[in-house]
Symmetry: C2
Subunit: 189 residues, 2 copies
C-alpha cells in the first residue's frame, strides 16, 4: 500500500510518501514541505497548497491519503490555517477518488512511538528508525507527514473495517438519490 501523509498547514504543509504493509519493513518514497509565504494573500496561498498537493499526487499516485485531523484547542489563528490547508488536501484527494483517512495527533504518536503523548523528537527518532533513514527528516512537519503515512498503513486493516461499517450504517439510515448527496436549491428573482 502506498500512502501520502499530509501534515496540513498554510505556511508549511508537510508531505511524505511511504510504501508497505503492516508487519513488514516500510519504505520512504519521498518527503518534503509545501510552503507558502506567511504574509501572502489567503487565496493565493490556498492555490499554492493545491498545486503542491496535486504535484505530489501526480508524481507518487498514492492509493490512500492520510491527513492530520484538526482540533481547535490550539491557537485560533493557526487552527484556521490548518483547517483550510487540510480542506485543500482532502479535496484534492477526494476529487481523484483517492480514499482519505483522518488521524488525530495522538493516534499518530501512539502508532509510531507507543505513546500518545510522545514529543516531536521521539516521533522523529522513530520515523528515522522505521524507515531506515540516515537522519530525522527536517522540518518536523515533514517527519509528521511520514508518521501519518506509517500510522495509516499500520491502522489500515482496522480503519477499513470501521469505514465499511459506517458506510453500511449510512446506507441503511438514509437511502440517497443515485445522483449523489448534493442538492443545490436556487431561486431567481
Amino acid at each position: 500500500m502506498r500512502v501520502l501523509g499530509v501534515d496540513p498547514g498554510l505556511t508549511r504543509c508537510g508531505v511524505g510518501v511511504v510504501e508497505g504493509v503492516a508487519g513488514r519493513p516500510l519504505a520512504m518514497l519521498g518527503v518534503g514541505v509545501v510552503r507558502t509565504p506567511a504574509d501572502g494573500e489567503l487565496g493565493q496561498r490556498l492555490v499554492a497548497v493545491e498545486r503542491g498537493i496535486e504535484a505530489w499526487l501526480d508524481e507518487y499516485e498514492p492509493e490512500r491519503v492520510a491527513v492530520e485531523r484538526v482540533f481547535s484547542q490550539h491557537n485560533v489563528r493557526t487552527v484556521m490555517g490548518t483547517a483550510q490547508a487540510s480542506a485543500v488536501a482532502v479535496l484534492c484527494a477526494s476529487r481523484r477518488g483517492i480514499p482519505v483517512a483522518l488521524h488525530t495527533p495522538s493516534e499518530v504518536k501512539a502508532a509510531v512511538t507507543g505513546s500518545g503523548r510522545a514529543d516531536k523528537a521521539q516521533v522523529g527518532a522513530m520515523v528515522t528508525r522505521l524507515l531506515r533513514l540516515a537522519a530525522p527528516p527536517k522540518p518536523a512537519d515533514a517527519a509528521d507527514a511520514l508518521a501519518l503515512a506509517i500510522c495509516h498503513i499500520w491502522r489500515a486493516p482496522a480503519t477499513h473495517r470501521l469505514q465499511q461499517a459506517q458506510a453500511a450504517a449510512r446506507a441503511a439510515r438514509a437511502p440517497r438519490p443515485a445522483s449523489g448527496g448534493t442538492s443545490v436549491r436556487k431561486v431567481t428573482p
Copy 2:
C-alpha cells in the same frame, strides 16, 4: 460591479449574487444554498461544495467574491466545517483570478443594518428592502450571502485602497521570485 457573496458552511453554504455600485439601487441576480448531507464523508462533502461554487461562478461570472471571515469563538465542530467550506470557496475564486474579500459578520451587519449587533431578522429585513424582494430569502444562510455581497459593494472603494496599500507594503518588504511565492522542497531517499 457583480459580486458573489458566500456564507460558508458544509451543511448549508449560502450563495447570492448582487449587482450594482455604492450609492445606487442594487439588483439581486440569484440566491441559493449549496447543501451537503451532514452525515456524508468529509471529502465527498468538500467536492460537492466545490462543484456548487464552480456552478455559481460559471453561471454568474462575478467580478468579486465576498466570503464571511471565520472566527473560532463558535462551536468547535461547526467552526471546522465553516473554515473548510470557506477554504473551498476562496480556492475556487482565486484559481480563476477573481479577487476575494473576507468580511466579518459584524462588518456585514453594520453595513446593511447600521448596527454590528443586528440579529438575523434585521439582516433579512434589510436585505429584502435593499434588493426590493417580495419576501426575505430563506434560509438565513441565503440572506447572509446576499448581505455579504451588498456589504462588499458598499465597502469596495475603501477595501480596494486598503488592498493596494497592503500589496505595496508586501512588495516593499520582501521581493519575491517571479515564479510566485511557493517553494516545494523535496528530498528523495
